[in-house]
């Protein structure tokens, strides 16, 4: 048993080259409205534990350990299983055609351990190629040191806030939701901007008044639940139910719902494929080509790129207890909104890397 690699939902937003934008990225994920008549996930799983659906119980967060009874049986609180994140995303990507210098001769390819012969017919020592590993002298090959690919994305995201109801689990066998990393690079005073650059120092424990450097945090949730008695919640004075107080979410221990998001990645990516060979089957030195070759064709896009929004979802595998998860624990719906402001309004949303 182990922690599964989360299921990923990935969206690609096409951007023009070198346009700086910034804006809010909102991700709302919730148990699907089809589940409105059901209890929240932890209650459902606890109620049905061992009832034949063991495939999902073996994975994290349960690890085949029956969760604590949340005490919400029959409350139909599937709506409480949500995770909402607000990021500030800034940056863009700069694209330039890679440069290749010092094309390698057959002698150099052979001496570097990439070819079987320094002249005449030769084969690639890594045995790759289609339809065979024969060397084609029309192909251009370069040492990795002579290939410069300067394309760089400069996207950064900062979680402004995250709100869910799942940070109150105390069962030691229950895998808690991961936090979302936030960085805050700080000086203690601005004098240090001149003399003492400490921002490379990682610190997450310093007293705020003393901290400096990168004061990173992993955010499980933010938010305040109002238990004003005028509000309606289970166990609230004004609530219809008086059987307990599990609905008072200002009490951390009542926040035992099932947030689904394990992480969010935001980065830039562009179309770039470059053929390569290595020096032997187990070699570690690589050479690259900017032509069509028997191991693939060179392609590089310098006009546009894609901003990737990768949402990592807590999930399981029906048969495996580790590795890549393939199923969510329950049906969900995710709404994503991005409000870019800046140097472009030319966007195209897709489900794969834009190639045209």
């Amino acid at each position: 048993m182990g922690k599964m690699t989360p299921l990923e939902v990935v969206k690609y937003i096409k951007f023009p080259d070198r346009r700086l934008i910034s804006g809010f990225l909102t991700i709302n994920m919730v148990s699907h409205s089809d589940n409105d008549g059901l209890d929240d996930a932890n209650q459902e799983y606890q109620d049905g534990w061992g009832g034949g659906d063991g495939e999902s119980e073996t994975s994290h967060p349960f690890f085949s350990t029956e969760p604590d009874n949340p005490g919400r049986n029959g409350y139909k609180h599937s709506f409480g299983d949500y995770d909402c994140l607000l990021f500030w995303v800034a940056g863009g990507m700069t694209l330039h055609a890679p440069s290749f210098s010092s094309r390698m001769s057959q002698v150099e390819l052979e001496s570097g351990g990439f070819l079987s012969a320094s002249s005449g017919p030769a084969t690639w020592t890594d045995d790759t190629g289609s339809p065979n590993d024969a060397y084609d002298s029309n192909e251009h090959w370069f040492l990795s040191a002579n290939v410069v690919h300067p394309c760089q994305h400069f996207l950064k995201s900062h979680l402004i806030s995250r709100i869910n109801n799942g940070y109150g689990h105390t069962n030691t066998d229950y895998y808690k939701i991961p936090g979302i990393l936030t960085n805050q690079f700080e000086y203690n005073t601005n004098i240090e901007a001149d003399w003492n650059n400490n921002v490379t120092a990682a610190s997450s424990n310093a007293i705020p008044s003393n901290r400096e450097g990168n004061n990173y945090r992993y955010i499980l949730s933010n938010g305040v639940f109002s238990n004003d008695t005028d509000g309606d919640y289970v166990g609230g004075v004004a609530g219809a139910s008086v059987e307990g107080s599990s609905g008072d979410l200002s009490n951390v221990s009542n926040n035992t719902y099932f947030p689904m998001i394990e992480g969010v990645e935001v980065y830039g990516k562009h179309k770039y494929t470059i053929p390569s060979h290595k020096n032997g089957l187990s070699g570690s030195n690589y050479i690259y080509s900017n032509t069509n070759t028997s191991v693939g064709n060179y392609a590089h896009e310098a006009g546009y790129w894609s901003m990737v929004i990768k949402i990592k979802i807590r999930a399981y595998h029906p048969t495996n207890t580790s590795g890549q998860a393939t199923k969510e624990f329950f049906k969900s719906r995710t709404n994503v909104m991005f409000q870019p402001f800046g140097e472009t309004a030319s966007f195209d949303i897709g489900n794969s890397l834009h190639a045209s």
Binding site: I13, L38, F330, S332, V336, M337, F338, F347
Partner: protein, 447 residues
């Protein structure tokens, strides 16, 4: 230089004038047939006619001048040559003489040997009188072949000509009445190869023909002080071109029809064309099927029996002085364009659609107002893109959610909500979104 035709005519007329003088004219004077009036002592005024090279006295206001008889003495005649000495000269019982005063009628035929002046009248107001009330009061004939018969039968008087009649201007026959072919010619007196012919054929067909030798200007003109009446008993009046009928006026009872049997019909008028129908209607038909009817009562209308197209290479202008142009169906006005003189407005009864196969542009130099009492829709290919309801809420892309409250702006959109900006690189703000539903999940959840 030769004499002109007119000069020859004048000379000819002059030559026929009598001459005047005293005494018997000399035989060397004048020409055959000339007449001369002479004062002759003892005879008064004597009329002489030159005949057979000599002047002969043919009448006198007094006694006839004595005629010298050459050689008469040689025949030993015992008579006298002076009638005045004859006894009983005034007795009208001489069977072989006519009285000079004409008081004695001839009892037999008068035969003249002919010749120039064979029958000559010398006095003014001379006449030939023929008997009254006769079927053939006077016949001019060749042997028994009458050329002219004058009938004086009371109430049936007539002159009958049995041969062709020519009227000559001294040089050419100008009029020719051809009795055998029942036709009449009038020739161009300057060139008789040009003429007009009127002919009646067997059964009564009558032809009027004009001929121009050059084939170009033999026009026919009727310049009538009164009416021109074409009265065809068959009702058909034909218009032909070189013998081919192109148009026919057909006059039936209470109906006049003009058929153009070949080609087109053009009314080319320098002035106006008036169609004045007291019956109130003017019809345009296609092979007998009425297509268009003008009703010409005090409120004229035009009715089309089928689709109706106004196809103009220029502008089509409807100008209504009462400032209203209406389009109706069965007397119900569905489109009323009014206030055309100041602030034009189109009133429509029922739904109104402008369906263009191409671009429709509404170009206002000032404010453009779309005013729908219950809604304003802007569609793309039949689907509402923009809808403004009675609350003045604006819905884009058929936004149809039921909301607790409506908003001023509603937009149904997938992914690309909106964008605004100045230009590439400048002030761009967009809203994008995506909705994702699980594609792989625990289907036993909640089971």
């Amino acid at each position: 230089m030769a004499l002109t035709r007119e000069e020859r005519k004048l000379l000819h007329q002059k030559s026929k004038q009598p001459t005047f003088g005293s005494g018997k004219p000399d035989s060397m004077e004048g020409f055959e047939g000339d007449v001369s009036y002479r004062k002759v002592e003892g005879s008064g005024t004597v009329q002489y006619l030159k005949q057979d090279g000599d002047w002969k006295a043919i009448s006198s206001s007094g006694e006839m001048p004595a005629v010298r008889t050459v050689g008469s003495s040689s025949v030993g005649s015992s008579g006298t040559s002076d009638h005045s000495i004859l006894s009983n000269l005034s007795s009208d019982d001489h069977i072989q003489y006519l009285l000079i005063n004409g008081s004695r009628a001839m009892t037999g035929d008068l035969s003249l040997s002919g010749g120039d002046g064979a029958l000559t009248f010398t006095a003014d107001n001379s006449s030939i009188k023929i008997p009254d009330d006769k079927a053939s009061s006077l016949v001019i004939e060749e042997a028994d072949n009458a050329y002219i018969t004058i009938t004086t039968t009371n109430s049936s008087e007539k002159i009958t000509l049995y041969e062709d009649l020519y009227i000559n201007d001294g040089s050419n026959n100008i009029f020719h009445f051809d009795q055998s072919l029942a036709q009449m010619y009038i020739y161009d007196d300057s060139d008789v190869s040009n003429y007009m012919k009127m002919q009646v054929l067997t059964g009564g067909p009558t032809k009027l023909t004009t001929v121009d030798a050059d084939g170009s200007v033999a026009h026919f003109t009727m310049d009538i002080d009164g009416d021109i009446v074409l009265d065809a008993a068959s009702g058909n009046t034909l218009l032909e071109l070189n013998g081919t009928t192109y148009g026919t006026f057909i006059l039936n009872s209470n109906n006049i029809e003009f058929d153009v049997e070949l080609g087109n019909l053009t009314l080319d008028v320098a002035g106006d064309i008036y169609l004045d129908a007291a019956g109130d209607h003017i019809y345009f038909a296609d092979a007998g099927d009425t297509r268009i009817r003008f009703t010409l009562d005090p409120s004229p209308d035009l009715k089309s029996y089928g689709d109706f197209t106004l196809d103009s290479t220029g502008n089509i202008i409807l100008s209504a002085e009462d400032a209203s142009v209406r389009i109706s169906d069965d007397d119900i006005v569905y489109i009323d364009i009014h206030n055309t003189d100041s602030t034009p407005e189109i009133d429509v009864t029922g739904n109104f659609t402008i369906d263009g196969s191409g671009t429709i542009d509404i170009d206002s130099a000032s404010t453009l107002t779309l005013n729908g009492t219950s809604a304003v829709n802007i569609q793309e290919n039949g689907t509402n893109v923009i809808n403004i309801d009675t609350h003045r809420y604006i819905y884009f892309n058929a936004y149809a959610q039921t909301l607790y409250q409506q908003y001023g702006f509603h937009n149904k959109i997938d992914k690309y909500h909106q964008t605004s900006g100045k230009d590439d690189y400048d002030q761009n703000y967009s809203i994008l979104s995506e909705s994702i539903v699980s594609s792989s999940y625990n289907t036993n959840y909640g089971g």
